[in-house]
Structures are given as C-alpha cells and as structure tokens.
C-alpha cells in the first residue's frame, strides 16, 4: 500500500497488530474498543493472513486465549474496554508473574467523560497493580506506532504490555500510511515448564522478585522513554503530558505562543516512569505541570509534592474528560498568562439517547410493565439500559448483575417476610458474557423471579458483533434455551415481543410461575433493526386518526421517538422520517387511534 488512508484509532491499532506479526487476536466488544477486532478481521482478510481472530464470550476468556498463544511463542493481543479489564484482571495479574514468550499486548481503552461507560477508571492504575508496563498513545498514528513498541517491549522483558488508548484516540481518525505486514513465520511451540507455567506459591514468590527486576529494567528501556516535543524551548517550568492530553497541549502551546518558551515532554510509558527522566526533570525545572487522563499516575511517580502540579495537587480536575479548552486554561495559568474565558455551551438543550424506533426491546419493556406493574426491574449493560426512559429499568450495575440482583431482591424481601415481583432484563450477549453463573446460583438457592432475555441475535450497542448463538461459517452455534434449561430453570419459553398482546400474556404466565415455583425465563426473540446484515422486511405505514385523544400514553409510557405530540393540535403525529413501521403502537394506543396498512419494503 502506498496511499495514505483515513484510519480510525481502533483501525490503526489493528493495522499495527497485523503489521507486527500478531497471529491470535481476541476481544469482547465494548465502546470505545469495539472496532479494534473487527478491523483486525478486515486487515486479516485483505492481506490473506493465517490468524485466529475471535469475539470471545467475555474479556476473561478473551485474555486467557490470547495469553496461551503467547505462551506458545506467537505474538498475540486482546482488546477490551476499561471495565472489561476488571473482568479480565484475574488472569492478567497472574500472567504478569508467569511472563510471556511471544509478544503479548493487552489493549484496554479508557473512556474519560465518561461517554459510554459505567466508570472513568484509569487502566494505567491496573497496570501498576499488575506490575506491567503501560503505553499511552496520543493519536491514531501513535496508536499504530506503539503496537510495534509494545511487542518489542513485551518480548525483550517477557512481560505482558498494556496499551491504553482513550476514546479520543480510539474514535479519532487520521490520514495514515500503512506499512508492509511483517510475517514472522513463527509456529506454535509450547515448551513444557510446569515450575513456571503452573507455578506453586513458593515459585510465585521468586517470579514476583523477577517481575520487580524486570520493572526496574523497563524503567530504563530507551525506545519508550519520554520525548521532548519542542527541544528549543527554555524555561524554569515544564509540562509533562501523556495520551491525547499531550496532543491537545502541543496545539495549545503553539496557539498561546509558548512553543519556544515552555518545554513539553510526552510520556510514552506512564508506568514504570523512566528513572533518568524523573531525576532529570526534578533537577532541571522548578515547577512541573502534569497533564494526563484520568488519574495522576505520572504525577504520583514524580516524587516532589511541592513542585509538581497535577491531579493530586488540585491544579487539574480529577474527574471528567481533560478537554482542550480546560487544558488551555490550566496551561495559561501555569505560564502566568492572562486568559480570556471562551464561549460556553448553553446550559440546557440536547436530547437523551433512546431505543430506536421499532426496537423490539421497547415492546418487551412495555409488556413487562403491564404484566408486573408493581415489580422491581433489575437490568443490565447494553442498548436496553435505555429502557430507563420508559420506566422499565430500576438498576444497572455491571455486566450480568441483573440476574444476581434479581436473586438478591428476592432474598432480601424474603427475609423481611415479603414477596415482590422481580422481572430482570438482560441482553443475549450479556447473558453469555456473565449471566450464566448467577442463573445457576439463583436456581440452586431457590430464588423466585422472572428473567427476560432480550434476544436480538447480536451485540447491538457496540456495532452488531455476533453472539455465540449466531450461526457463522466455521462456528458451532450455542442456543440460549438449552443453556437456560441446563442451569436447572423449569420455566423457559420463547416469544416475539412485537406481538404485544401475546408477549404480555407470556410474561404474565412467567410472573405467576415465579411467584409460586422459582426462576422463570422468557426469551424475547426479535432481531435488531440496526443490524444491516439482515434483510429489510415489508413494513406497515402507520397513521394516527382524528380520534386521538392526546393522552400521550404512546409518547411517555411507550416512548417511541417516531410518535410526536403536537402541542398545537393536541394530538400525536407519526414522524415518517424515522418510523420503522413495526406497528406495536397500534396495540399500545388506548383509544385504538393508530392504524396501519402494509407497504412494500
């Protein structure tokens, strides 16, 4: 390839993995990391490479599979979002002790803001906990460059390397010139060494000492040392930045006329921070400003509280995204320059995300509210979290927690001598990810609740990655119902939520079973409308007649964005630009004022 092409940060990382001889790549989708693996798949196909690339059932499994490839001498990588790293932390911390053979990269994408996550956690802190090096790219081009650095670092010190991009790297695009794929021609070669690969606690102590020695050496590894971006600048002050904060700072120094007057260091490897760098910067500069997301990881390693400004010192906010306008303010203040406050966004406005028009989840939530109007509704992570908007979601904790929380509510009320209807919702992909162990737990502990598995046969929120139930060439599909039955559930029925009356009846039946017998599972089966791999079906054209009373049940209780209340006419109209023609609202309207007729696709 000889042309510069537009690459998203995630595509660029994928390109870097493929260019540098990665053979096994695994992932579980999650914003902002989702496009990494799909891009690896695309590059693999385009280059005709022999690789194993898999969407694993969850991040723990994904990490373990990729790590095993590394134990066998191949270069491998696993990609996930930051909360996924929590799930995968158990094997990661152990793998840090055992070390690697083939280069092994763990990509954990952080989401300062957060834009699409439960937490703003800083994966670099988890690298510190695991005692592994972490690289912090500041642009798509660097994200690609750092995959090469990470593989070299990993093989030089036989240690897993964390690559930590953030949303503004993953979902930035840049013109990049791809390089040739370096085919390393390695074959799987697992060398038995039980003292290492199956180490007992006694050996683990020695491995821990080894790891500490590795870290000391990594803190002197030249290729990942901090880079001074403006070597001509001279001052008694300096700015130290990493990730996209360094990219923002670079542009801001230029705009403020400080490029020649304020040295800017980009830290490539925030942990372990290079020893020589720490010594030099503290010896050379009187005051140091540290700009990084989201925690003060670099700052904590600069051992001089009095002269270092950052998150810990209070100069930089400890929560939220470090937006460039914020950095501009902080840098100007640090440099002792006057600063004009910029124009600010309006205090209100915008619109909340909502389930798509025609989304089958909306019908499922409406049916659940009808069947168990006084129920408690634990839910989970996915598009269907947006069931919040129509009052169908009471709790969201983390992947798979809907099932454990449903059991928890049952037990909590039971000991108080009460029984509440509990109807939990979980997506099909989330059910596979971590919904199965809590379901077994609930059955064996005699919990009583309804679990509605929202089965749209895809991982919708993150861009329609396949679930284990999807039949694909070379894969064995695993159906949900037999898994549920295998967990010991005695009520497991499947229905179509778009048949609202029928589905409401089915959920009612499940509520009745749960009150008397135990866990009941309803599989709400209807495909995702956003999934473009599916053919478009003929759709109904929906109309609202003159008999509309303006009661607004359809806009508030059903909350379809294609139904719009007109304050002038005091009636509801259909936004034909976005209506999918699912026709569920026909059954929702109390005055039967919504009608539909069949149309072509």
């Amino acid at each position: 390839m000889s042309e510069r092409i537009l690459m998203q940060g995630n595509e660029a990382m994928a390109r870097g993995l493929v260019e540098n001889g990665c053979i096994v790549a695994t992932s579980y989708p999650g914003t902002p990391a989702s496009e990494i693996l799909s891009s690896v798949m695309a590059w693999q196909k385009a280059e005709g490479l022999a690789m194993h690339v898999e969407w694993a059932i969850n991040e723990k499994v994904a990490l373990e599979i990729a790590y095993t490839a590394s134990q066998s001498g191949l270069r491998s990588a696993v990609a996930m979002k930051q909360v996924g790293l929590n799930v995968a932390s158990d094997p990661l911390l152990s793998a840090a002790y055992l070390g690697v053979t083939g280069g092994f990269i763990v990509i954990s994408a952080d989401d300062p803001g957060p834009h699409s996550s439960q937490t703003e956690q800083d994966s670099r802190l988890l690298a510190m906990l695991a005692k592994i090096p972490v690289l912090d790219p500041g642009s798509p081009a660097q994200a690609r460059e750092f995959t090469a650095l990470a593989f070299e670092l990993s093989e030089a010190f036989q240690v897993p390397v964390l690559l930590r991009p953030t949303t503004r790297v993953c979902h930035a695009c840049q013109d990049i010139l791809p390089a040739e794929v370096n085919k390393l021609q390695r074959k799987a070669d697992f060398r038995k060494d039980p003292a290492r690969w199956a180490a007992t606690p006694n050996f683990r102590y020695r491995l821990h000492l080894d790891l500490n020695r590795k870290l000391a050496d990594i803190a002197a590894h030249e290729p990942t040392a901090p880079r001074l971006l403006n070597p001509g600048a001279a001052s008694s002050r300096a700015v130290v930045a990493s990730g996209v904060a360094a990219a923002h700072a670079r542009e801001i120094l230029e705009n403020l006329g400080l490029w020649d007057g304020l040295p800017l260091f980009q830290v490539i490897q925030p942990y372990p921070l290079h020893d020589t760098f720490v010594r030099n910067i503290l010896d050379t500069y009187e005051e140091i400003l540290v700009l990084e997301e989201t925690a003060g990881v670099i700052e904590l390693q600069l051992r001089d509280r009095a002269r270092v400004r950052g998150k810990v010192s209070g100069a930089v906010p400890e929560a939220g995204e470090l937006l460039p306008e914020l950095i501009e303010h902080i840098v100007a203040e640090f440099a002792g320059m006057p600063f004009d406050p910029v124009s600010t966004p309006p205090a209100s406005g915008g619109r909340r995300p909502t389930l798509c028009p025609g989304c089958p989840h909306r019908a499922s939530f409406y049916a659940i509210k009808k069947a168990a109007p006084k129920g408690i509704y634990p839910s989970d992570i996915g598009c269907y979290t947006l069931g919040l908007n129509l009052g169908g979601v009471d709790t969201v904790l983390c992947m798979g927690a809907s099932v454990s929380q449903a059991a928890g509510f049952h037990q909590t009320y039971r000991v108080s001598g009460e029984q509440r209807d509990v109807v939990a919702t979980i997506g099909d992909s989330t059910f596979f990810h971590s919904g199965i162990p809590p379901l077994i737990d609930a059955v064996s502990q005699g919990a009583k609740f309804v679990l509605v598995i929202l089965d749209n046969s895809t991982t919708a929120m993150t861009g329609n990655q396949p679930t284990p139930a999807v039949p694909l060439p070379g894969r064995v599909p695993v159906a949900i119902a037999p898994v549920v039955e295998g967990c010991g559930v005695r009520f497991c029925k499947t229905g179509d939520p778009l048949d609202l009356p029928g589905f409401t009846h089915l959920v009612g039946e499940a509520v009745e079973f749960a009150r008397n017998e135990g866990v009941a599972v309803v599989i709400a089966k209807s495909p995702c409308l956003v999934d473009r791999t599916r053919p478009r079906l003929p759709r109904r054209q929906v109309e609202v007649s003159e008999t509309c009373t303006g009661c607004r049940v359809c806009t508030s209780q059903f909350e379809c964005p294609a139904l719009v209340y007109d304050g002038n006419t005091k009636k509801v109209t259909v936004d034909l630009l976005i209506c999918s023609g699912c026709g569920v609202c026909i059954d929702v309207c109390p005055s039967r004022s919504i009608t539909g007729r069949e149309e072509g696709p």
Partner: protein, 182 residues
C-alpha cells in the same frame, strides 16, 4: 497550507459519521493532513452526535469553543446547541427552512432537508442534502462539490443503487441553493 476546523452535528442515525469521513477522505485526496473525532456508543441511539473535523497541521482531534470555521447541523436545535464552537467569522449550514434565534451576524445556509428527503423517498439522505447545500456556497469549505462527488462515487462504487440516490440527494442540496437564489 489550508487550515480549517469544522463541527458536524446531528442525532444518532442521521449519518453524521458518513459525511465526516466523506469530507476527511476528500481532504486526503487533496493531499491535506486531516484529523477527526467521532461519537460512538450509546449516544448513537438517537442522542446528540457531534463530529470534529480538522484539515491542516493539527495535533489535537478536538475543536475548541470559539475556533470552528463552520458548522453543519442536521437539526436546527443542534445549530443552537453547538454554536459556541464557532469563531466570530463562522458560518452555519443547517437542515431548516430558516434558523430561528440565529446569531444575527453569522452567515446561515439553510435547506429544508427533511421535506426534500421525504419527497425523494430517501429519508436517510438528509446528511448529503445539507452537505450539498453548503458546498453550493463557493469558498466556504476546503473543497468543492466536484471534489466531494468524486470521493462519494469511490466510496459507494460497489453499491450502485445507493450511490445513485446519494448523488441525487447531494445534488438536490446544491440545486436548492441555486433555486432559492442563494
């Protein structure tokens, strides 16, 4: 070197990402460095979607408030929501018949893209109609109508029927400007 910072704003499903990448690829074809920042995840489900597009020698993917040269808004309310990004010399291309409460001194290029799209039975083409409308204003963007048309044809080369309806929408936006005597 040409240097331009743009904000593209709409709601999930309107195709903000598509026109952002279309413009970014046009920049590359013209030999210009480009950076963009996209919205993904939950906001794509009908929430506010904003793209930043920077053509020229930039290192940060984000446009700071008060620095955008122009904004393309696929909903009139987005033009108000994000106008703080605009520089004093900025302009707004917007999907609306006119922009109510617009900043009086800013040039506004409106086009009623919703109704044009419905007339053309192409409800997903609002994005290209508005982009066509803005490109009818000579010298506002770093590229012209023909530059973008070539990239659009390249991007959709394998989808002939989508390409045809997309080109029609793109032209309809530009033609509207001519018809309205803008």
């Amino acid at each position: 070197m040409i240097s331009q910072q743009l904000i593209l704003s709409g709601v999930g499903g309107q195709g903000i990402l598509f026109i952002t990448r279309l413009l970014a690829e046009t920049a590359i074809a013209k030999g210009l460095p480009v950076m963009t920042s996209e919205t993904h995840g939950m906001a794509q489900r009908g929430g506010i979607v904003i793209s930043h597009l920077k053509v020229g020698g930039f290192s940060s993917p984000l446009v700071r408030p008060g620095r955008a040269d122009g904004m393309i808004a696929l909903k009139p309310e987005n033009a108000l929501l994000h106008r703080h990004f605009l520089a004093d010399s900025g302009w707004i291309g917007v999907n609306a018949s006119s922009l109510p409460e617009g900043r009086g001194d800013l040039p506004v290029f409106p086009v009623p893209a919703d109704s044009l799209a419905l007339e053309m039975k192409a409800p997903r083409s609002v994005n290209l109609i508005v982009l066509g409308r803005v490109l009818a204003e000579a010298g506002r963007l770093f590229c012209d109508f023909e530059d973008v048309r070539l990239i659009l044809e390249k991007k959709l080369a394998t989808k002939p029927s989508l390409l045809q309806s997309s080109l029609e929408a793109f032209r309809a936006g530009a033609d509207f400007a001519q018809r309205a005597g803008c």
